[in-house]
Symmetry: C2
Subunit: 357 residues, 2 copies
């Protein structure tokens, strides 16, 4: 049985997970149960959820529009109002059924409604299973700034059922794959080698590799829950990746990227920077760039785009005293946090990405 | 020296308090300092603050409009945006300088900005000194529902300087006095007797009585930080009081009441209910009603008002499974939590209040 047991935020995967889920609900015996989903997961994931849900209280579904552009305070406001109108009280339970947007936003809504009510996360995308499910971070975007508003607060339980992935479009699978690659890069050469050549992201064989990713993330956040040091390594590729993601969400010629698609670009750029500043081995950089660019379509950035992305960097949550600080690597699994990177090197990294063949 | 030392949320009052404040800022060495105030406290309290502030970083003032009607998510949104634009980062410090609206709202803004940055509360009203300063509750209203959105999170330090009270209008002083009366009712006959006959709320002699109130509240929240039991006693008079306060904020013929003014009415009604349901002594009820109605002007409620107020009760955060639960008293200092009260008794309580001479 795949499980990580904790005082709060236990994680269960596949076999036995639904029993643990149903037992936990019986234990807390909520007054009402609300399921937050988006337009997609309401359709594609609710049936499997309802097949396995086993408690003598009909869950009420609350639906939010699909996509990162709705991960904002306005959507929270409409959920808070709906919860109030439907009589949610302090003993009500929220179940977040969806990808990262639903679990991030739903976790924030639950953590702040009546100063905090209990919630359960059921991640349904690969990305949210390997990333958003672990660590208790939640929140919403503020304009173009990702996750600017939020708190750290664990759900009482996380349930991973890989059958939800069957309904996931391919680009969403690839997006989640990016975070698995990241876990390899920051933590383990052997895990990197195992996953870098997955020819197709096949659900049936994915359970073991996915769980290894969860274990890596869990070991990091257990050691450093409040991001004083080690947890910052999870931002590998994200400083640039978030800025790229935000920029592409805004009105311009580049089409919006999924989170993992942006992070994949961020990892290529950041590994290049690691080479420049910490002597990251050239052949490994080559291996990483080629593995990533085999899976993720190249995006064309003009200089005006790059300038704007650099401007967005200064809003990143992790920046302190106006300096842009990066996590860099000396080699796979050997990190250095709080590295300052001059702007001209960032421009050079985009050049490297653009010219990579 | 009046101080309550804790890992987080230490409280300092008057002599020595500013030294503790300045030392704490030096210790955490923030990247930037933002002071949240409202239009009133920016004018009347900033000078005393700046006279005593001693750190080599100019604080930036952020101003919100004055009054409970602005204690909402829209005001938070404008502050979050302003903080982002002014380059606030994870090591920035927020100082909330104002009454309960500023400390409640500012505490929530700080607790959720970039998933939580440090903040200090400097309560400037009597109400916020004896109540909002202790216990880490923060949040904002949602429509007519008070404090519906928020978290529990302590400031790193609370500074009480009773000189701020010199600028406080009389009705604001009386409002704070209501919470002191409440601390007497739920906790201590001797404290009740000390304060019930204060002829004028004189600042100069208030320090000792105010501090006793802080100590009572602190002892309650230390024993029960998450409101499982004992902390509920702090809601004495508040279940009805909040509903009355909300109702009067809305458009109708009754003028808006200050928090303490509404709570004072709530305490008369609730003590009447305590008499009906728990045999609270008649002469003590008489003593309480007369002491309160000497200080707080009577408000006229029509039956339509009372009906609407009862409707609002069901939205109170403390209600569970659709039942309206009250804290009642068997006598001063002897409480019983989670008491169900039928609606007809509530109507009777309003009758008692109306006919009291």
């Amino acid at each position: 049985m795949k499980e990580i047991l904790k005082e709060k935020g236990s994680i269960y995967c596949n076999s036995g997970a639904w029993d643990a889920f149903n037992n936990e609900i019986k234990r807390i015996n909520p007054s009402k149960i609300f399921v937050i989903s988006d337009t997609n997961t309401r359709k594609s994931c609710a049936p499997l959820f309802l097949d396995n849900y086993n408690f003598n209280l009909n869950p009420e579904f609350l639906e939010i529009p699909e996509g990162e552009t709705h991960k904002n305070i306005e959507t929270c406001l409409s959920l808070w109002k709906e919860l109030s109108e439907k009589g949610a009280d302090r003993n009500s339970l929220i179940i977040n059924l969806g990808g990262g947007v639903v679990t991030d936003l739903g976790g924030f809504v639950a953590s702040t409604f009546k100063r905090g009510i209990e919630f359960i996360n059921i991640p349904t995308s690969l990305l949210s299973m390997v990333d958003a499910s672990v660590g208790g971070k939640n929140g919403v975007d503020l304009g173009l700034i990702k996750n600017q508003i939020g708190v750290i607060n664990n759900p009482i339980l996380v349930l991973i059922d890989t059958r939800f992935l069957r309904t996931l479009p391919d680009n969403q699978k690839t997006s989640g794959y990016a975070e698995m690659l990241k876990h390899g890069l920051i933590h383990s050469k052997s895990y990197w080698n195992e996953i870098k050549n997955l020819n197709e992201i096949e659900i049936e064989g994915l359970e073991e590799l996915l769980w290894e990713s969860v274990l890596i993330k869990n070991s990091v956040i257990t050691e450093d829950p409040f991001e004083k040091g080690l947890r910052k390594t999870l931002n590998y590729g994200h400083t640039l990746g978030h800025a790229i993601e935000s920029y592409c969400l805004d009105d311009n010629e580049i089409k919006p990227l999924l989170h993992g698609e942006a992070i994949a670009i961020g990892m290529v750029l950041t590994t290049f920077l690691s080479g420049k500043l910490l002597g990251f081995p050239k052949d490994t950089l080559e291996d990483i760039s080629s593995s990533i660019l085999k899976k993720f379509e190249k995006v064309t950035f003009k200089s005006v785009d790059i300038d704007e992305i650099i401007k967005l960097l200064i809003y990143d949550k992790k920046n302190t005293n106006g300096k842009i600080l990066f996590v860099l690597l000396e080699d796979i699994g050997i990190h250095k946090i709080n590295c300052e990177v001059p702007n001209n090197l960032i421009i050079e990294a985009f050049e490297y990405y653009k010219n990579y063949k």
